[in-house]
Symmetry: C2
Subunit: 304 residues, 2 copies
C-alpha cells in the first residue's frame, strides 16, 4: 500500500510541558508532507523525528491561538536558511495575513521561496487542496475563535496487476497501464479476457480527519462518516465537562460519541490538558463508548 502516515509531533493543549508540545502533526501521503498546526518547537520536533523538511508541501492551521501557531515563523525562517526554493502554502482562518505577513516581511525578508498565506472561511466545509494523491477539505468546528478541522482523503488508486495472469496470457508489459486503467485484453485468437481477471481490486481509499479545538459538535459526525482514523480533541475528562463547555473544548466522552456516530475506523485522542499527570482516564472514558480508541503521544507514528 502507498504510504499514508500520521506523525504526531505534539498533542498537548495550551501549555506545553516536557511531556507534550502543543498541537502539531505531519501527515505523509505518498511522501508528500502536510503539516497540521504549528506549535512552538515544531522545527526542533521535526529534526528529532528525522522528518525531511524539504518535502513539506503545505501547512494547515486550525485556528489562531498561540498553541497552534507559535512555531510557524521559526519554521519559515529555518526553511529560508536551509535554502528552500519551492513555494509554501499556509492555510488558516481570517487574520492569518494580518498576523503573519508582518512577521514574514521582517524575519524572512530575503526568502528565496514564496510564502503564500491563504485565508479560509471556516464556517462551511470546502475542498481547499487537491493533487494526484489526496484531497483536503475543511471541517467547521465550534471554538472561541474561527476554527476548522481538516479531512484528508486519498484519491482512489488503480487495481493491482496479477503478475501470474499477465504471464499466463503472455500480455506485453507495454499494455499493463492500459489494463490497470480498465482495458480488456484481446488474445490473437479473438478471445477477450476481461480486465477484472487480470487484476485484483485497488486498495481501499483511506482518510484522516483532524478535529481540534472544538466544543462538542454532534453534527460533525455527518462529515466524518467512515473515516479511517479520526483525531479528535479530548482536552478534559467528563469530570470537567462544565469547564469544557465554557472553554469550547470537548471531553473524552464527547470525542468518543462523535467517533461512534460517524462509525470511524479508529479514534485518536489528543490536545490533553496539562492538568492530567496521566491520560489513562481519558482513554478509559472514551473506550467505554468507542473501544477502538488510542491516545496520541509526541513522537508517535500512526500508519493507516
Amino acid at each position: 500500500m502507498e504510504k499514508f502516515e500520521i506523525n504526531i509531533l505534539g498533542c498537548g493543549a495550551a501549555l506545553p510541558t516536557p511531556k507534550h508540545l502543543s498541537s502539531v502533526q505531519v501527515v505523509n501521503v505518498r511522501e508528500k508532507l502536510f503539516m497540521l498546526d504549528c506549535a512552538e518547537g515544531t522545527q526542533m520536533a521535526l529534526r528529532r523525528s528525522h522528518i525531511n523538511f524539504t518535502h513539506l508541501r503545505a501547512i494547515f492551521l486550525t485556528h489562531l491561538h498561540g498553541d497552534h501557531v507559535f512555531g510557524l515563523i521559526g519554521l519559515l525562517s529555518t526553511l529560508r536558511l536551509l535554502g528552500r526554493l519551492q513555494s509554501l502554502h499556509v492555510y488558516g482562518p481570517q487574520d492569518l495575513q494580518c498576523i503573519f505577513q508582518p512577521q514574514i516581511d521582517y524575519f524572512c525578508a530575503e526568502s528565496p521561496f514564496e510564502i503564500l498565506l491563504h485565508e479560509i472561511d471556516t464556517k462551511k466545509p470546502q475542498l481547499i487542496y487537491e493533487d494526484r494523491s489526496v484531497e483536503i477539505s475543511t471541517l467547521p468546528l465550534s471554538h472561541r475563535v474561527p476554527c476548522c478541522g481538516y479531512l484528508f482523503r486519498e484519491k482512489p488508486t488503480l487495481p493491482h496487476i496479477r503478475r501470474d495472469a499477465i504471464d499466463y496470457y503472455q500480455i506485453p508489459l507495454s499494455q499493463i497501464n492500459n489494463i490497470k486503467a480498465g482495458m480488456d485484453w484481446t488474445m490473437p485468437d479473438g478471445t477477450v479476457i476481461p480486465h477484472q481477471r487480470l487484476t485484483t481490486p485497488p486498495d481501499p481509499v483511506r482518510s484522516y480527519a483532524y478535529c481540534t479545538d472544538t466544543a462538542f459538535r454532534p453534527q460533525l459526525a455527518d462529515l466524518l462518516q467512515g473515516v479511517t482514523c479520526l483525531y479528535h480533541e479530548a482536552t478534559f475528562t467528563s469530570e470537567h465537562a462544565l469547564l469544557a463547555k465554557n472553554t469550547h473544548h470537548s471531553t473524552a466522552t464527547q470525542a468518543a460519541e462523535i467517533a461512534k456516530d460517524a462509525q470511524v475506523g479508529k479514534l485518536m485522542l489528543g490536545h490533553f490538558s496539562s492538568r492530567y499527570k496521566s491520560e489513562e482516564m481519558l482513554l478509559q472514558e472514551a473506550q467505554r463508548i468507542f473501544p477502538n480508541t488510542l491516545l496520541a503521544n509526541d513522537g508517535m507514528k500512526v500508519t493507516l
Copy 2:
C-alpha cells in the same frame, strides 16, 4: 555568598538542533531572574530546568533576529495563562514595538499583567536597569542589525559580621546593622572598637557580560575590564574567519582575544554554528590565547 548564577538554556546559532536551542539564558541575581534573549523553545527549556517563571523580572533582547526572539510571544502567552500579575519589562533594539506589540495585542489580549516594551539605543553603553542588587548596562556590538550585549554588575554588599568579636565585646544584636554599615562600637569604659575589627571584608563585586551576536570588535574590551565572566559568541573556528567577517560574527580566537585584552575572570563560548559536530575545536582554539575558557552548553549552570 549571595546567589549569582547563569543558566544556559540555549547556546546554538541560527538553526536550533536537538543538541542546542538558539540563544537564551537566565541570570539569577539573589533570586531575581533576568532573561537574556528568548529563542524558540524558551518556555519548554524553563520547565525542563525547573526555573520558576514567576520570578522573572525582565527580558533583555540583544537584537531582532529570529534565533534570539522567536520564543518571546510563547513565553508571554504562557505567563498570561499562568496568571502572572506583576508587570514584565522587555528591552530590545529599535523595532521591538512595531514587531511585538501587534503580536501581544492579538495573542495576549486579556493579559492580567502589563507587558512593557522598551526600545534602547544600541550604539552607546548605558545603564538601563538598576535595583538594590544589580546594575545592568548595554554594550554596543557590531552586527548586521542594531545589536547590544548586556553587562550585569552586582551592587557591593556590606561587610560580614564577625560573630566571635560581637560575642567577645558583648555588643547587642540591635547594633549589627549599624556596624555592618560602618559604625564603630564604643565600650561602656569609653574604648572605641573600630568596625573593621568587628567585620570581615564584603564579598568581591561580581559581574557578567553577555556579548552576542557580534563581529570582532576590539574596543569592546575597554567596557569589559575585569568582568568575572564573559559570554562571547564564537560562531566559527578561525578556518571560517572570512565567513565570520562576512556575516558579522566572531571566531573562537577573536572571542579569546577580547577576553585576554579585558583580563576577564573566565570566558564562556557560545552561539555555536550547527555545522560543527563537536565544539572541542572552538575550545582548543580559544584556550591557546585565553586558557580559562569553557564551552557553554544547554542546561549548564555557571555560578559566579
